[in-house]
């Protein structure tokens, strides 16, 4: 198992290098340069040239890339073109917020999703199955900003229970987590249901029942553990999605997370921030995927021996 984990970690390094190269060259290739984006329309070209020179944006791309990689190894991710603050500071301010939302959202959607999925599988084609499937789907089918705004209108305006902007107390986190969690709920419930339906008809389930194992154990231990593989994949995907994908929810609830930071950095072509943010998110995502793969091996022995 450890050998397998180390192998996966080592595989990460070439990927990060490849990603850093792709990101570095891709964002410089998109039209719109950071300085004119920052200076805005109608600014004399001399200012733009001067600033580009100061930031070294006119040097050949290769030189810029090498300088950037050298800085990284010295632990300096560079300065944000827009806020002139070190990128590390900008990210350290936003990462905990996004991680909280991502973890919270994933936990809510997976815990509820699995429970609902199992119940739906047990009562296939009956009332509860249809009820769970349609309710859990409702939230998935709604555009996220539409759903987020609905929440805000109901809980913040009509009922006045919850504050709707910022994230400086648990009460503030309720709606964003509800928005992020519920969108994953439908996906998790459906994945669990479909995996459970496959497993329930297996012979070993009948064997367990023939040994007098209580039904609850047969379902929640024997059957569920066997359907863990698709479920874990879904959780990994869900967490990854939330990492960079919550820009819309963060914008609606004015929460300064990585999602919004990415959107702003892209819109303002803030290269240093963009590169660092993508690398940080990619690293977290790859680590999560590695953990998911390791869990595969832990859950299903057959895979480990592959």
């Amino acid at each position: 198992m450890l050998k397998y984990a180390i192998k996966r970690i080592l595989q990460m390094i070439p990927l990060l290098i490849a990603l850093s190269v792709i990101v570095f060259f891709l964002i410089r290739w998109i039209p719109g340069d950071p300085v004119s984006a920052m200076l805005g329309p109608g600014v004399p070209a001399s200012n733009i040239e001067f600033e580009r020179e100061r930031l070294g944006l006119n040097d050949p791309i290769i030189v810029q890339y090498v300088r950037w990689v050298r800085d990284i190894f010295q632990g300096d991710l560079g300065k944000s073109i827009v806020s002139k603050k070190p990128v590390v500071y900008e990210i350290s301010r936003r990462l905990p917020v996004t991680l909280t939302l991502a973890v919270g959202g994933t936990v809510i959607s997976s815990v509820l999703g699995v429970i609902l999925g199992v119940i739906a599988a047990m009562r296939q084609n009956r009332f509860l199955d249809n009820l769970i499937m349609s309710v859990s789907l409702l939230t998935v089918s709604m555009p996220s900003f539409f759903f987020a705004l609905m929440l805000m209108l109901i809980f913040s305006v009509q009922l006045g229970w919850l504050p709707s902007i910022g994230l400086n107390s648990p009460a503030h986190a309720v709606m964003p987590l509800l928005a992020l969690g519920s969108s994953g709920l439908g996906f998790m419930a459906r994945t669990t249901r479909s995996a459970m339906l496959d497993v329930i008809r297996q012979d070993y389930i009948r064997t367990s029942r023939s040994r007098g194992i209580p039904e609850k154990i047969v379902i929640y231990s024997h059957a569920l553990k066997n359907s863990m593989i698709p479920i874990i994949t879904a959780i990994g995907l869900r967490f990854g999605g939330l990492l960079a994908g919550s820009a819309v929810t963060e914008t609606v609830f004015s929460i300064p997370g990585m999602g919004k930071f990415l959107v702003d950095s892209v819109t303002k072509r803030d290269y240093p921030c963009l590169q660092a943010a993508i690398l940080v998110l990619a690293t977290i995502f790859i680590v999560v995927n590695t953990i998911v793969d390791l869990i595969y091996a832990a859950v299903d022995p057959r895979i480990r021996y592959e």
Binding site: L15, L19, I22, N130, I229, L237, L262
Partner: protein, 278 residues
């Protein structure tokens, strides 16, 4: 065989309803435009945000255009994007997923890492790159949508194939000497079919959401062509004063996405080879 499939599919009432809802929308997308009496681009600046009235059954939008007509024309655009985008993305996704899961070793590693990169890459940046390189418009939105749907399908299919791969009947085929491609297409894919269907229908639904967020960022369908996502975004600003403008596209998007998922469920239960004896 079809009779059995239809009878079992009929059992899941919700999926039947979903099927008819989708047929209704596809009908609208194909034949709707002939039935509308307005042109979706006709503006009437005198009565903008007009409420429901006899001439405008669903009121008008911020430029006085008839919402109902734009919904009908928008159906064609939105459904077109999601079908073409997702189906192409799904093909690529299945291929990648199967190869990764089935062949394993270095093929698996390369494809997995590729998927990781695609997933790690924020969708938004991908969208901007595509629109910057190819320009905006319907075609490129479909391309963006298909690229978005590849990673999730590929990863799902891989995990299913991993599960199926070491079942006896797959090894049996290999022993008999069947070529890999035959094994994959006759045995592996049909068995992964239930997961693929579930995922494709989900992606078909989320494709519409992706298209709408793309147009939200100004990179999707170019104004003034009607598209559900753009209509929803524009109407969001007046959600409190004339909610009809938001409610209708919102309902259409939600209904279609919901129907896709329920249809997927129904298909999954009806088509799944193992469920024959149920």
């Amino acid at each position: 065989m079809i009779k059995v499939f239809l009878k079992r599919f009929a059992k899941k009432k919700l999926s039947v309803v979903a099927f008819f809802v989708l047929m209704f929308f596809i009908f609208i997308a194909l034949f709707g435009p002939r039935l509308c009496k307005y042109d979706p681009l006709d503006q009437d600046l005198r009565n903008i945000y007009a409420g429901i009235s006899r001439e405008h059954w669903l009121g008008t939008d911020n430029l006085g255009r008839d919402t109902l007509t734009r919904l009908v024309y928008g159906a064609r655009v939105s459904l077109g994007i999601s079908f073409s985008g997702v189906l192409s993305g799904c093909m690529i996704g299945i291929l990648l997923g199967v190869c990764a899961g089935y062949f394993g070793k270095w093929v698996d590693t390369v494809i997995c890492r590729l998927i990781d990169v695609m997933l790690a890459f924020p969708g938004l940046l991908l969208a901007i790159v595509i629109s910057a390189v190819l320009g905006n418009g319907v075609k490129n939105t479909a391309l963006a949508v298909s690229i978005f749907s590849v990673p999730s399908i590929a990863r799902m299919v891989r995990s299913v194939v991993l599960g199926i791969k070491n079942q006896e009947y797959i090894q049996a085929c290999q022993i008999v000497g069947e070529s890999n491609s035959r094994v994959i297409f006759t045995h592996v894919i049909p068995n992964a079919m239930s997961q693929i269907i579930v995922n494709t229908t989900l992606n078909l639904g989320s494709a519409i959401l992706t298209a709408s967020s793309l147009s939200f960022l100004g990179m999707g369908v170019q104004p003034p062509d009607p598209e559900w996502g753009t209509m929803l975004n524009n109407a969001m600003t007046v959600i409190r004063t004339s909610p009809i403008g938001v409610v209708m596209p919102g309902i259409c998007i939600t209904l279609v996405v919901l129907s896709f998922s329920l249809l997927g469920d129904g298909l999954r239960d009806a088509l799944d080879p193992k469920l024959k004896n149920v």
